[in-house]
Amino acid sequence: MAVLGRPPWRRLGACWGWWGGRAAALQQRQPPWRLKSTNPFTREQEQEWRRRNRTVLMYVAAAAVGMIGASYAAVPLYRLYCQTTGLGGSTVAGHASDQIETMVPVKDRIIKVTFNADVHASLHWNFRPQQTEIYVVPGETALAFYKAKNPTDKPVIGISTYNVVPFAAGQYFNKIQCFCFEEQRLNPQEEVDMPIFFFIDPEFAEDPKMAKVDVITLSYTFFEAKGGHKLPVPGYN
C-alpha cells in the first residue's frame, strides 16, 4: 500500500524478480529536463550554458534554412544576372542583323546541318525537306528548302515552329528569313517551296562547349492554325 504513496514513475519498483530490478534501474534515471547539478552555485551557470546552447542552436538552424532558401532563389536570380550582363549565352537582340555584312566565314570548321520536318497529327499536309543535309561553315549564309503540299480539298492554314539540336547550339543559329511563326495558307492541292535563309554565328567556332559539335539538326514542325489568331512566340520565360 505504500506503493500508492510514491510518485507514479516510481511505482514499478515494487515489482519482484528480474522485472522489478529492471524497473528500479529505469526509475533511477533522471527525467532529461532536470539540471545535472544539484549544487545551487553551479546551477545558475548551468542554466546560462543551456541558454547559450539554445541560442547557438537557433542561429545554426537559421543559417541552414537560409542556405536552402538561397539555393532555391539562386535560379531566377542567376537568370536575371545573365540577362542583364549577357553572359552564358542569352543572346542580345539585334545581334544578327548588324553583322551579316561584316562577318567573316570561319573556313576551317565545317558543320553539317541536317533537316527534319514534322507535322502535327491533325494537319494533313505533306511537309518534307528538299535536301537531307548541307555543309556550312560558321559565318556563311546558307539557303535551304522545305516543301509542303496540301492534298486535301479545303484551304488549310498552318503555322510552324522550329527546334535546333543540340540545344546549346541553338543560340548560334540565326535565321535571316524563314517561314516560321507566321500563318501560311495553302489552297487545295497546292504545293509550295519554303525557303530558309540562315547562318551560324562565327562565335560558334570560339565556344569551347561547341568544340565537339559537328552536326546540327534543324527540325520544323507544322501545326494547324485557326485563321486570324495572333500566336505568341513560343519559349519559356
Binding site: S97, E140, K175, F197, P234, G235
Partner: protein, 93 residues
C-alpha cells in the same frame, strides 16, 4: 523539347527570324532557280560554299516579284524588303 522541370539546364527558346518571314512563292515563279540550286547542291555533295551563286540567283528572282517589290509601299512590310536586301548583300560577299 525541354520540360519545365529542368531548373539547371537552359531551355531552348526558338527565336523568330530577325526580319519576319518570306512571302511564299505560291505561284512557283522561281521554281527554276530553286531547281538549279538544288541540283548544284546534289552535284557538289551538299556543300553550301560552292553553290552561293545559285542561291543568290534564287533570291534575286524572289526580289523581282511584284508582290515583294511593292512591299516598300506597305509600311508594315518594309522590313521584309530590307531583309531581302540584306540577304543579297550576305550572298554577294
Amino acid at each position: 523539347m525541354s520540360t519545365a522541370m529542368n531548373f539547371g539546364t537552359k531551355s531552348f527558346q526558338p527565336r523568330p527570324p530577325d526580319k519576319g518571314s518570306f512571302p511564299l512563292d505560291h505561284f512557283g515563279e522561281c521554281k527554276a532557280f530553286k531547281e538549279k540550286f538544288l541540283k548544284c547542291l546534289r552535284d557538289n555533295n551538299f556543300e553550301n560554299t560552292l553553290c552561293r551563286n545559285e542561291s543568290k540567283e534564287y533570291l534575286e528572282c524572289r526580289m523581282e516579284r511584284p508582290q515583294i517589290k511593292n512591299l516598300s509601299s506597305r509600311r508594315s512590310l518594309v522590313d521584309q524588303k530590307e531583309s531581302f536586301d540584306l540577304s543579297l548583300e550576305g550572298i554577294q560577299r
